[in-house]
Amino acid sequence: MIRIQEADFDIGAELSALTAARADIGAVVTFTGQVRGQADGGPLTELRIEHYPGMTERELERVEQEAKERFGLQASLIVHRHGALKPGDNIVLVIAASRHRDAAFDAARFMMDSLKSRAPFWKCEKGPGGDRWVEAKADDDIARTRWHKKDAAE
């Protein structure tokens, strides 16, 4: 399941809904991204996240679907917020549940790497120096290629 929302999410509640007492699940990995007060570009008072409604849903669904096919997940979830966020606020939640731990770790990381390079979100950092659009990191494209190499090797 995927969701895009302005409201905060409750990680414990999401986890319970997805995996609690499910005897077919052996391993659950969650990733949560939070707003840091000290961004790479300097101190930050607000993070504004813009997205492309419609395309965002499609891309996140594709990311989740690929993870399911690739890693054989028992359950999964992607939640991404947009709007005006403060330091310490949650941004994104990814959950991957599988029988064994390697698949859950790999799937959660794959979903984050893929989402970062494909889902149409843009971050604008507001700080004492004004507004600054966050630049994409070359690292994130490199992170995505980790999974291409595995494609070729498999």
């Binding site: 996240i49 492309y52 395309m55 499609r58 984050m112 989402l115 843009w122 994409a136 994130d140």
Partner: protein
């Protein structure tokens, strides 16, 4: 055709969305960016570094050489920075 702009591309053009009648010689995403640059200083400024601008046709990522034929919606935006 519906054209959308996001993030700093939207800020620079001053436009979020508009409907455009494509000139006959505009066949690819790249052609469209070249044509948009001719629409005044805001567009000239927004599309100056056209190699860093990404595009999507009908909500799917495309490369600059993608054809526009049949497209209902095209979006221009900087590299994505979610997560």
């Amino acid at each position: 055709m519906r054209v959308l702009y996001f993030a700093w591309v939207k800020e620079k053009t001053g436009v979020a969305a508009e409907d455009i009648e494509l000139p006959a010689n505009v066949e690819t995403v790249s052609d469209l960016m070249d044509w948009l640059r001719t629409r005044g200083p805001e567009f000239e400024n927004a599309f100056r570094q056209s190699d860093v601008i990404r595009a999507a046709i009908d909500q799917a990522h495309v490369r600059p050489d993608a054809p526009l034929a049949g497209a209902r919606e095209i979006a221009f935006f900087p590299p994505v920075t979610g997560g």
